[in-house]
């Protein structure tokens, strides 16, 4: 685990998931510095907060999560993006790899360890 806590932005339109993910990540030593409930707010927050990691839900009410990932990772000194969904990664085919995201974790499997593994 990194010596300085990894900073995280959580993007999801369901408040119950954001709350649970925050609790889980904070317990595991991550520093959750922001939450966003849709794609537009996520892109703004990523620019302002400069997190190390964006945990990004695929199904957002406004913009598709993959498009949000492309926008965020297209910026200079972009944060790592990890996509998540209550669906399985097989539901999305190759869209994950084409979006510029580091990887995909199904919501039910979310844990500090699984994030760390993808972040490398």
């Amino acid at each position: 685990m990194a010596t300085a806590a990894t900073t995280v932005l959580i993007v999801d339109d369901h408040p119950s998931f954001r709350a649970t993910a925050r609790l889980l990540l904070e317990v595991e030593g991550y520093d959750v510095i922001g939450e966003a409930e849709d794609g537009e707010k996520a892109i703004v927050a990523a620019g302002e907060l400069r997190p190390d990691l964006v945990l990004l839900d695929v199904n957002l009410p406004d913009i598709d999560g993959f498009a949000v990932a492309r926008r965020i990772t297209g910026e200079e000194a972009a944060p790592a993006v990890i996509l998540t969904s209550s669906r399985d990664s097989s539901d999305f085919g190759t869209a994950v790899t084409r979006s510029g995201a580091r990887g995909f974790i199904s919501k039910a499997d979310l844990s500090g360890a699984s994030l760390a593994e993808l972040l490398g």
């Binding site: 369901h14 119950s16 998931f17 709350a19 649970t20 993910a21 609790l23 889980l24 317990v27 199904n59 209550s86 669906r87 919501k107 039910a108 979310l110 844990s111």
Partner: protein, 584 residues
């Protein structure tokens, strides 16, 4: 109906006027032969117009054709006094001399309806009256001696003997008269071209004679101004007079002709309709009978307030189109169809009525076929709607599952994992997490229950419509009164559709109606289940707006039922479904 006394009165007045004319002519003319010839000619023309006019007036009291013919006859008799050799009758006859032509121009242009059809026609008629009254009067103020009259009596109206002025006035009046006559002839030609073939059969005699008369009159008036050849003028004048005399007879012949053509048209229709095997479409037969190739035949559907064409396509009678009119076809007091035809045919009321009556007898097959086609189209439409409705319902279910229960279970899974991790090191946090997990689980169960109820309510299957509707009413935020339901169970597809009618309607009441209360009624009558939900809210609901009611209508129609929505703004909403439901 013109009272008999009026007809007799007018006739008596004409006889009295004719007798006065005859007595005056015999008393003032030197030659008895001359007096007899003039009297016979004048009485023949005047009398013919009055008699034909009275006949026309009695037949169509509201139509001006009769009074115009009577007026032509009377004015002709008055003008006849010009033949007298006494100053007073001569002066009266001289001034009135041209008036019959104004009446006859009016008559021709107003035939057969009695109304002038265009602005130009009205201008021509008014100008004709002005020229034949003001024009004649102004000439007679300045003329002492009229050309071509021997031993002319004194003109009582003479103000000043100004032959030059009188000539100029007469020329102006005559040329204006010629122009008006030519315009009137043009208007008659236009009337002819606009007529339907059946109309033409009735119009031909009078319009033909009238146009010939007007042409002869124009030639006579022009020749009178240009030439002094009295023989030629005499012959032209005689031709014009004969044609003038022919006008009332042409009217009577036209009447017989159009009666005969109407009878023929209806006769042909009946015959074509009775040739069942070789029969073309009913529409074609009616179009041929009425002589309107553009004619449409529409049918009223037996089971609802809706019009369809022969192909079963819905049509709106309100948008029949410019220049079209509608004649309903009724049988036993019920309107079963309508003929959409040329507006000109509305004058042929009898023909239309007879055609509609003949069509009513033969309409059944075509009407049932049209209704059947409409039904097939409806079924195809509602089948397609049910498929797409099914797809969108599945999308909605997927969405609801994903956003609802699935999210709860994800959160639950994460909380349980985390709690398991913390169980030894931090039991207090683990306990908090498990509390939250229990809440998530409770919410997830509620959402699943709600979802399952939307798919098919278990209470309906297990306990029937009464209990299910009671449960819907109980959950509604708006107070709902439920009338007692039928005690026996309905067939399950009917029960399900009835349930969804109530469920969707009550959802709409809660969401949009701003109602104080609602009422649910389910009845079984005449082999149908009737489901009615009414509220006292703002109204304004319709099948066309929003997918909820459209989906309901499709479900109801899939069972051969019909959904009817009454929802005037401000008057609440009544959703009423009638579903066929044979006793089981």
């Amino acid at each position: 109906m013109i009272p008999r006394q009026v007809v007799w009165g007018v006739g008596a007045a004409a006889v009295a006027l004719g007798a006065t004319l005859a007595v005056t002519l015999f008393a003032t003319l030197d030659s008895r032969e001359e007096a007899a010839a003039a009297t016979v000619a004048l009485l023949l023309v005047g009398g013919s117009f009055v008699v034909a006019g009275l006949h026309a007036w009695r037949r169509r009291p509201g139509n001006r054709v009769g009074p115009l013919m009577i007026a032509t006859g009377f004015s002709w008799l008055v003008a006849g006094f010009v033949e007298a050799r006494e100053p007073l009758p001569f002066s009266i006859g001289y001034v009135a001399g041209a008036l019959p032509f104004a009446f006859v121009v009016h008559l021709l242009l107003a035939y057969p309806t009695g109304r002038l059809r265009s602005r130009l026609a009205r201008v021509v008629v008014v100008a004709a009256y002005v020229v034949t009254t003001v024009g004649s009067l102004s000439v007679s103020l300045f003329v002492r001696e009229v050309d071509g009259l021997d031993d002319q009596p004194r003109n009582l109206l003479l103000v000043a003997d100004e032959p030059g002025l009188a000539d100029a006035l007469e020329t102006a009046a005559t040329l204006t008269g010629v122009a008006l006559v030519l315009l009137a002839t043009g208007l008659l030609a236009r009337r002819w071209l606009a007529a339907t073939p059946v109309e033409r059969r009735g119009l031909a005699p009078l319009l033909g004679t009238g146009a010939l008369f007007l042409a002869a009159l124009a030639v006579t008036l022009t020749a009178d101004q240009l030439s002094g050849d009295s023989l030629a003028l005499g012959i032209l004048g005689a031709i014009a007079m004969l044609l003038f005399l022919a006008v009332p007879y042409a009217y009577l012949i036209g009447l017989l002709g159009s009666r005969a053509s109407r009878a023929t048209a209806v006769g042909e229709l009946v015959q074509r309709l009775s040739e069942a095997g070789s029969r073309g479409s009913l529409r074609d037969a009616i179009a041929a009978a009425l002589g309107d190739p553009e004619l449409d035949l529409v049918f009223r559907r037996p089971d609802r307030d809706e019009w369809v064409d022969a192909g079963g396509r819905r049509v709106s009678l309100a948008r029949a189109g410019l220049g079209r009119a509608i004649t309903p076809i009724a049988r036993d007091g019920e309107t079963i169809g309508a003929i959409v035809h040329h507006r000109g045919l509305t004058e042929e009321r009898e023909l239309l009525a007879n055609t509609a009556a003949a069509a009513a007898l033969a309409l059944d097959n075509d009407r049932l076929a049209a209704a059947l086609r409409a039904r097939v189209a409806e079924l195809q439409e509602s089948r397609a709607n049910i498929v797409s409705c099914g797809l969108s319902e599945r999308r909605r279910l997927e969405r609801d599952l994903h956003d609802g229960a699935q999210q709860r279970l994800v959160a639950l899974s994460l909380q349980v994992n985390l709690a398991a991790d913390k169980l030894h090191d931090d039991p207090a946090t683990a306990a908090t997490l498990l509390d939250r997990a229990r809440d998530e689980l409770r919410h997830a169960l509620e959402e699943l229950r709600e979802l399952a109820r939307g798919i098919h309510p278990a209470i309906l299957t297990d306990h029937g419509l009464d209990a299910a509707v009671g449960a819907l009413a109980g959950r509604s935020p708006v107070p709902v009164q439920v009338r007692p339901l039928p005690s026996e169970r309905l067939p399950s597809p009917v029960e399900a559709v009835a349930y969804f009618v109530v469920a969707e309607s009550l959802t709409n009441v809660a969401k949009y109606a701003r109602a104080r209360q609602a009422e649910v009624r389910v009845e079984r009558a005449d082999g149908r289940a009737i489901v009615e939900v009414r509220d006292d809210g703002v109204g304004g609901a319709s099948v066309e707006r929003g997918t909820g009611l459209r989906g309901l209508a499709d479900r109801v129609e899939a069972l051969d039922g019909h959904l009817n929505i009454r929802s005037e703004p401000g008057e609440g909403t009544i959703v009423r479904a009638e579903i066929p439901c044979a006793s089981s």
